[in-house]
Symmetry: D2
């Protein structure tokens, strides 16, 4: 993904560390796709009734991570308050979804991968959040 | 919009007041569309250089409100922590965008309408947030 | 929704009829929300296994209608080819989802409302598509 | 990105070639992010007035590619008609946006990268489209 090249091609100043932004954009995009795929894989499982909450948290986490990726991909007219609040929502969604997927990780490989992706996304977003004064 | 009919057709319990959820879904959807249209209208203005920050906050607010509308449209496997965090991000985005649009409201009718829509959305989301323990 | 006011506040020429665009924006936004809510309501039904395909088509239709609403909300740098292709995708998604929801309309009120919303959205988008040379 | 691992963890049959789907999901996600970043980079350029159409096509292409990535990430209840129509819209958006960005590629590195990403995305989606009967 040309995430870092695009950040380096940005023609003005950026208030945050470019490498950390690139990592967070990459992690949130990855998490959004993984959650979308996990919701769909759950939908094809035999014991679907046990996966209601998992599908729901996948859908929320996909939407929230996708929006966070977009906010972090913009640098013009930077507003720390928006970035901070959206990062916090993203970390929360990744915690909740990661925990829910973890509960099914022993049975479903897609939940195992998704739990891991959510955890990693929460960590990367937390590191970036700590840079925002 | 059949927002309220869909909430009334939901087959299980809902943890929050159905009327307040319907209002918040309606307000966030409205705000997402208005911000998308305001960014595009700004893009056609003569003095485009003065609207850089306005376009950016419109784009963020559109994405954040759109995602909030989706989170609020789901009731299965409700997680108060996700709803709370996303509502907070939404209120912040609406405050920032509403303030930026307000600064151009005298010159541009689309910014005037957008500022008003953002303020209303922030209020409705704040009321819902206060219901979440 | 201030859809029409925002179109009237657009500062340049618009290639299509403003009333028809406003109707299509309204219909696609409505359909996106209804499909998101229908997928979630299905997820709480007792006979969830019979609703797998319905949930999937709801999710696709919500995404496609939401993107179509955004494309139709922009007028700057209009490209008929993009608008036409996205409207065609939207009409197809609404047909498929409307048909699938219709099959469950007798049992589930949310599917009945959703089928109706999809049909109306397909019609409104078809009318707009016919205006695009 | 664990795109391919998630496809391999899908518990049921998939109608299309798994490798080609993974490539298309990867390409559309990449293109959505690059277009979002290009629109924002354009917004900070000195000669912003010359980039109005470029920003608009970036925004459309980001939304359309993002939705296409989601549709392609789902396999349950597969409907060839929806996949085909959304792929066609995606190819069109990538052609239009790639051409527009190409016109600014000599001046702006972000437009050069974006044009290249759009072209690659159109090609990968075209290959997948040809597999759908």
């Amino acid at each position: 993904m040309p995430v870092r090249e695009m950040i380096d091609a940005y023609p003005a100043e950026i208030n945050l560390d470019r490498g950390m932004i690139a990592d967070a954009v990459q992690a949130t995009i990855e998490c959004a796709q993984t959650c979308t795929a996990c919701a769909d894989a759950c939908l094809s499982e035999d014991q679907l009734e046990q996966l209601r909450k998992c599908i729901r948290s996948d859908l929320d986490c996909a939407d929230i991570c996708g929006t966070t990726a977009r906010v972090l991909s913009r640098h013009t007219g930077y507003d720390a308050n928006i970035t901070r609040a959206q990062l916090q929502a993203c970390i929360q969604a990744c915690h909740s979804c990661g925990e829910e997927c973890e509960a099914h990780a022993g049975k479903h490989e897609h939940c195992r991968i998704c739990a891991q992706t959510c955890r990693r996304c929460a960590e990367v977003c937390q590191s970036l959040l700590e840079q925002i004064s």
